[in-house]
């Protein structure tokens, strides 16, 4: 099978389960590299096409990668700003020398019902979305039992294995209901007045964004100051959209015969925190 045939098959299968092609073709879900008419030797799905993922794919003898995120450091993968940047050129040369084929699956995975990334993240977290009709894009989860924000953080970190997570809010606040985010798809706290915490990926800090994107941390701090405690656990982009690409690999295996298909973790980009930065629970001030 060729990559072009594979993508056509994926789109037909998606349509057959209720996700027809978008009327506006996705600018994200395109071939980023390689010959769409070559023969596929094997496929890895992953959260991010890091250089390290490329090396591991080659070492495993597979020539096609289906990442969720971009390859060349910008959502649109337009590389003109990179010019003769040596890091970009080294990555591009490695892809070309090894005849790797990269087809991004971002928008389709999010358009599937259920959204494959949210489904994967709920599975990772071991949670079931509250039954709400119509189902919100970002799942709401009533926890099996209330817990402190600190305990919830320990739980989410243990489930996802993220070491570069960041949390804002009172560690002792009680969390009953959470909104789940993945990647930069971050629940908007003002639209969810009855949730106590967000367990999401990444969101811009500070107020440089334009509404409706907003500084969620500052909003949570102000709600807390008003006596309505709110917390946010930022698990990072790869803490929320890497392992969920397992769902895409599982789905593909169901209808793509004779080609090895597996998930290959990109992993967190950040180094493990140094001693002194690993457990930084705030100390209550008098």
């Amino acid at each position: 099978m060729t990559p072009r045939e594979l993508v056509e098959l994926i789109n037909r299968k998606a349509a057959a389960v209720g996700t027809p092609p978008s009327p506006v073709p996705s600018r994200r879900d395109t071939f980023k590299a390689g010959d769409p008419d070559a023969q596929i030797t094997g496929i890895f799905t992953t959260g991010m096409t890091t250089f390290n993922v490329l090396r591991r794919a080659v070492a495993a003898g597979r020539n096609m990668i289906i990442p969720h995120e971009d390859t060349y450091f910008r959502d649109n993968d337009i590389t003109d700003f990179l010019g003769d940047d040596p890091i970009y050129l080294a990555k591009k040369a490695f892809i070309e020398q090894n005849k790797l084929i990269i087809w991004r699956n971002h928008d389709l995975a999010h358009r599937m019902r259920p959204d494959q990334l949210f489904a994967g993240q709920l599975r990772t977290l071991g949670w079931t979305a509250d039954p709400i009709n119509p189902a919100p894009r970002m799942p709401i989860v009533t926890l099996p039992k209330p817990m402190t924000l600190r305990a919830l953080t320990r739980y989410a970190v243990a489930r996802t294995g993220t070491h570069s997570h960041r949390v804002t809010g009172d560690p002792n606040m009680i969390v009953r209901k959470v909104a789940v985010g993945v990647g930069y798809a971050f629940p908007s706290m003002p639209t969810m007045p009855d949730i106590d915490a967000i367990v999401g990926g990444e969101s811009a800090e500070g107020s440089a964004s334009t509404l409706p994107t907003l500084d969620q941390s500052a909003f949570a701090a102000d709600m807390t100051a008003l006596g309505r405690p709110r917390g946010i656990i930022f698990l990072g982009h790869m803490g929320t959209e890497d392992s969920p690409m397992t769902v895409v690999a599982d789905w593909l295996r169901g209808f793509v015969p004779g080609i090895p298909i597996d998930f290959l973790p990109a992993g967190e980009p950040f180094h493990r925190p140094l001693q002194g930065f690993t457990d930084t629970l705030p100390v209550r001030r008098a």
Partner: protein
């Protein structure tokens, strides 16, 4: 480790005999007398014109100023502290209202209805309403400080370099790159903690032992195009906030490309504190009689051991 900020809340805001002005004076008569000779908000922000563009967010430019509060993060809690210190002029690199207002042109964009609904929810939220009411009730005038960055000068980066003791080590050129001696990823992290208070929000890329000959400073949020172009000329990026699919991936790929670069991201709010401090000093120098508070915030983030 303890923080060793040059100007902490304790030793900066009450300097120059201003403690009495803040804590010892109260009562309507005294307030009226102070207001009668107080400069107006517009006059005070004009003293910052070489450092930042002051963007009016709330209040009146012609309002008499009873005191100035420099806030790195204008949360409700910080505004309350400012009012408790009798400050009526709030200056911050951030707006209290969480973002820039919506672009009217976006009303016809895809998902415009969803965006409008989210914005409406924000405007109806307890936090937004309480903040708006608090600012109005206390007659606060609020300006956002957009730091100057042009003609090869980046005021916020220069303020950060000064805080780190690197001013003399500026590398000639258009980018705010510094070459302090004896630097490694590990020592840079230690400095980010000591000078900016970075703790639970600090994230980094690179071998802690990696030697750094040059460091690019991008306070605030590191935008991908300008940052990657400048980073070609430096070994490391010291910044506030970063997007994982942009600058972070570029730096993460650098070691595999045989050209290792490092990242130390402290969080945006902390990264802007040197700018806030520099603006505070400018106000104090220009208006020594006006009470001033520079509220230094701790790292807003924490983490648990993975």
């Amino acid at each position: 480790m303890t923080r060793s900020l040059k100007f902490s809340r304790r030793n900066f805001c009450l300097s120059g005999g201003q403690a009495l002005a803040i804590t010892g004076l109260a009562g309507p008569a005294l307030a009226q007398r102070r207001q009668a000779r107080a400069p107006i908000a517009q006059t005070i922000v004009s003293a910052l014109s070489e450092l930042a563009d002051a963007e009016l967010i709330s209040g009146r430019p012609e309002a008499a100023v009873t005191g100035v509060a420099l806030l790195s993060n204008p949360t409700l809690a910080a505004l309350r502290k400012a009012v408790a210190a009798h400050c009526s002029l709030i200056l911050s690199p951030e707006t209290p209202f969480y973002a820039h207002p919506a672009d009217p042109a976006a009303a016809s964009a895809p998902f415009a209805a969803m965006a409008a609904s989210a914005i409406s929810a924000l405007h109806e939220s307890p936090a937004f309403k309480a903040k708006q009411a608090f600012i109005a009730d206390h007659g606060l005038t609020v300006y956002r400080l957009n730091p100057r960055a042009n003609s090869g000068r980046d005021i916020s980066a220069e303020a950060t370099a000064a805080r780190f003791g690197w001013t003399a080590h500026r590398v000639p050129g258009e980018h705010p790159i510094y070459a302090p001696p004896g630097m490694s990823v590990g020592t840079l992290i230690g400095l980010a903690h000591a000078r900016l208070g970075a703790s639970g929000g600090l994230r980094f890329i690179g071998d802690p032992a990696m030697r750094l000959r040059s460091i690019l400073i991008v306070p605030g949020t590191a935008e991908v195009v300008s940052t990657t172009q400048a980073l070609r000329h430096a070994d490391a990026l010291l910044t506030g906030d970063v997007r994982e699919w942009e600058v972070v991936t570029y730096i993460n790929d650098s070691a595999e490309a045989g050209l290792p670069k490092a990242l130390v991201a402290t969080g945006r709010i902390l990264s802007e504190q040197p700018l806030v401090e520099r603006c505070a000093l400018a106000v104090r120098n220009a208006f020594p009689g006006v009470p001033l508070r520079n509220l230094v915030e701790p790292d807003p983030f924490w983490r648990v051991q993975a």
